[in-house]
């Protein structure tokens, strides 16, 4: 893990996230969100969790971003009116960030470097999913089915 790569990816991710949170045009914000998600996926790759990075790219960049763009297109005339930010929200976010930074920087045991580990292969993840995590896996399957049906019912045209 090289520090330079970490810093470049961190700057890209945070710039994309900040643009997604502050741009006025929705479609630009959605595209900047894709940049932020790609940065997070790159972090997973650097941290040695390649499978999570791939899942992040497939699910977020492939599905969620497309879903957001479709929703923007379907609710097209609803332009952001009035613009501007709610100052209370900005103050709350800054206060939360300051509190988190105080906690992180004030804990000396967090200043550890990564130990050497054996690579996390997809085989190990699959074995864990099929043995220790088989019950959560089934629950997630049920949840995804319920979310699919619920999403369809919500957007179905009402019969009159």
């Amino acid at each position: 893990m090289s520090t330079a790569a970490f810093i470049v990816i961190a700057v890209l991710t945070l710039a994309g996230a900040l643009a997604a949170a502050s741009l006025l045009k929705l479609i630009h914000a959605a595209l900047c969100l894709v940049l932020a998600f790609l940065g997070v996926a790159a972090f997973y790759f650097l941290l040695g969790a390649e499978f999570v990075g791939l899942v992040q790219v497939f699910v977020y960049v492939g599905a969620v971003a497309v879903l957001i763009v479709f929703t923007i297109l379907l609710t097209r005339p609803a332009e952001e009116t009035g613009g501007g930010f709610n100052w209370a929200g900005i103050m709350t976010a800054i206060a939360v960030f300051a509190g988190l930074m105080w906690a992180i920087l004030g804990t000396p045991t967090l200043a550890v470097v990564a130990p050497q580990i054996e690579a996390l292969t997809v085989k190990r993840i699959g074995e864990a999913l099929m043995t220790d995590y088989v019950w959560p896996l089934q629950c997630v399957g049920l949840l995804l089915t319920a979310a699919l049906i619920g999403g369809l019912i919500l957007v179905m045209e009402e019969k009159r």
Binding site: A111, A147, V155
Partner: protein
């Protein structure tokens, strides 16, 4: 110098705060969903970072939690965006400050 756990936690805290900023200060429903997605991504980043920098248990718990969390976030995004479309059909707006019919 190699990156420490603190570095990852600071990035994730910044991402969380930006998501909170988007969720609290924007008036458009889709921006609020974008903010929630960013906060979830920050939480996942923390899970993976603590897994990578901590002692290595068998099985890899942090990675597993991150995978399940991504699946649940996808379900949440699908239902949330369906709600935005349903609200838009009824009220012709996605501005959350105008959705005050239940206000006494």
């Amino acid at each position: 110098m190699t990156p420490t756990l603190q570095f990852c936690l600071i990035i994730s805290a910044a991402l969380f705060s930006i998501g909170l900023l988007a969720a609290l200060s924007r008036r458009h429903a889709i921006f609020i969903l974008i903010g929630i997605e960013m906060m979830l991504a920050a939480a996942n980043l923390n899970f993976v970072a603590f897994w990578r920098f901590g002692p290595q248990p068998q099985p890899p718990t942090g990675v597993m939690v991150a995978i399940f969390s991504i699946a649940i976030a996808a379900a949440e995004a699908a239902v949330g965006l369906a709600l935005v479309i349903a609200v838009y059909r009824h009220y012709r707006t996605t501005n959350v400050t105008k959705l005050d019919q239940l206000k006494g």
